[in-house]
């Protein structure tokens, strides 16, 4: 079945192919000084929802009613002090954290993941890549958890191709934290080879346990270093990322 045909009456709308149900989803992308993937994710969401999401400047203090908040990729505050450290204290983040704690889903991509970790929405820390290079290439991810609102569109164990572009993507967590992530099934994506095998070469940054993306305890905050919005349209070279946005919007509609 094609896009948009699965739910109710599919309609082509200006800006996307989302269904009427999807169009009710209120989504927002937070824009920090230095964010640079905000418009990419705006596009991916517009296709999935059928209407562009709201773009909210970090200096705002209030949020409208929202079904989804996205923390996008980029170099908020130039990554000064630590990536995501100052952005985590932006005026808008008090509201974002409050909403997240009250159950609003948050999709935190790359710099967004760093911000979420610094804001205490997710555990662990993102260290400099073990190879010390800025890694900018496609990687393969194994979908370890298919029963989350973010990954319902993938099958368990499915391997997808998504680009990374980061210098501090080396996910670190202590032994107790890792045990909790594993026991609670919160490791959503792991780096892998194209055939799904776990190999050292497949991990672009040395992250612990090949972790590429994790959920919080309530399974409503997803942080991941790869950029699903950058391979969400065949014109970009691939669309493995599209199912993440589609399944998310379907879950929220």
């Amino acid at each position: 079945m094609g896009d948009g045909q699965r739910i109710g009456c599919a309609r082509r709308r200006r800006g996307g192919q989302g269904s009427e149900l999807g169009a009710r989803v209120q989504a927002a992308v937070i824009v920090f000084p230095g964010s640079n993937c905000d418009r990419d994710v705006e596009m991916a969401l517009a296709v999935a929802i059928g209407r562009a999401p709201r773009m909210i400047w970090h200096g705002e203090t209030d949020l409208p009613p929202l079904d989804l908040i996205v923390l996008p990729g980029g170099f908020a505050y130039g990554d000064y002090l630590r990536a995501g450290a100052m952005a985590a204290h932006s005026p808008i983040m008090r509201a974002v954290v409050a909403r997240a704690r009250a159950g609003t889903p948050v999709l935190a991509i790359c710099n967004g993941f760093q911000i979420a970790v610094e804001a205490g929405l997710l555990p662990g820390a993102l260290l400099p890549n073990a190879g010390l290079n800025f890694v900018c290439r496609d990687v393969h991810l194994r979908v370890e958890v298919a029963d989350s609102i973010f990954t319902r569109g993938y099958a368990q164990g499915h391997v997808i191709r998504i680009p990374v572009a980061h210098h501090e993507g080396n996910f670190y967590i202590d032994d107790a934290g890792l045990a909790a992530l594993r026991d609670e099934d919160r490791i959503v994506f792991r780096y892998c080879a194209a055939d799904g095998a776990a190999t050292p070469e497949a991990n672009p940054n040395g992250s612990r346990d090949d972790i590429a993306g994790i959920l919080d305890r309530d399974r409503a905050v997803l942080g991941l270093m790869p950029h699903p919005e950058r391979l969400a349209d065949p014109r970009l070279g691939g669309d493995d990322g599209k199912a993440l946005f589609r399944s998310l919007i379907e879950a929220l509609a």
């Binding site: 100052m86 204290h89 820390a125 260290l127 190879g131 010390l132 080396n170 670190y172 040395g206």
Partner: protein, 80 residues
């Protein structure tokens, strides 16, 4: 009051930057280097004249922003 905050990675945390520095030192011919860890120095000039209050303020700054206490330790030095 001037505060000097030294921020260092906690013992068990991998420091690829320190490792790169060690390799560069080795290439430059410096023998006997058993390890390098890189940290940060942040100097803050405060209005506060009372040492205890200044220290408390700097502690709060460290915990809240200057250090990521998941992976970093901090040390505070005061001078007039």
């Amino acid at each position: 009051m001037k505060g000097r905050v030294r921020i260092t990675l906690k013992g068990g945390v991998l420091d690829p930057q320190g490792k790169a520095i060690a390799q560069a030192l080795d290439r430059l011919g410096f023998a006997g280097v058993n390890g390098v860890r890189q940290g940060k120095l942040i100097e803050i000039d405060l209005d506060e004249a009372d040492r205890d209050k200044a220290r408390a303020t700097l502690e709060a700054m460290c915990v809240k922003l200057l250090a990521n206490t998941v992976i970093e330790d901090y040390a505070i030095e005061l001078s007039e």
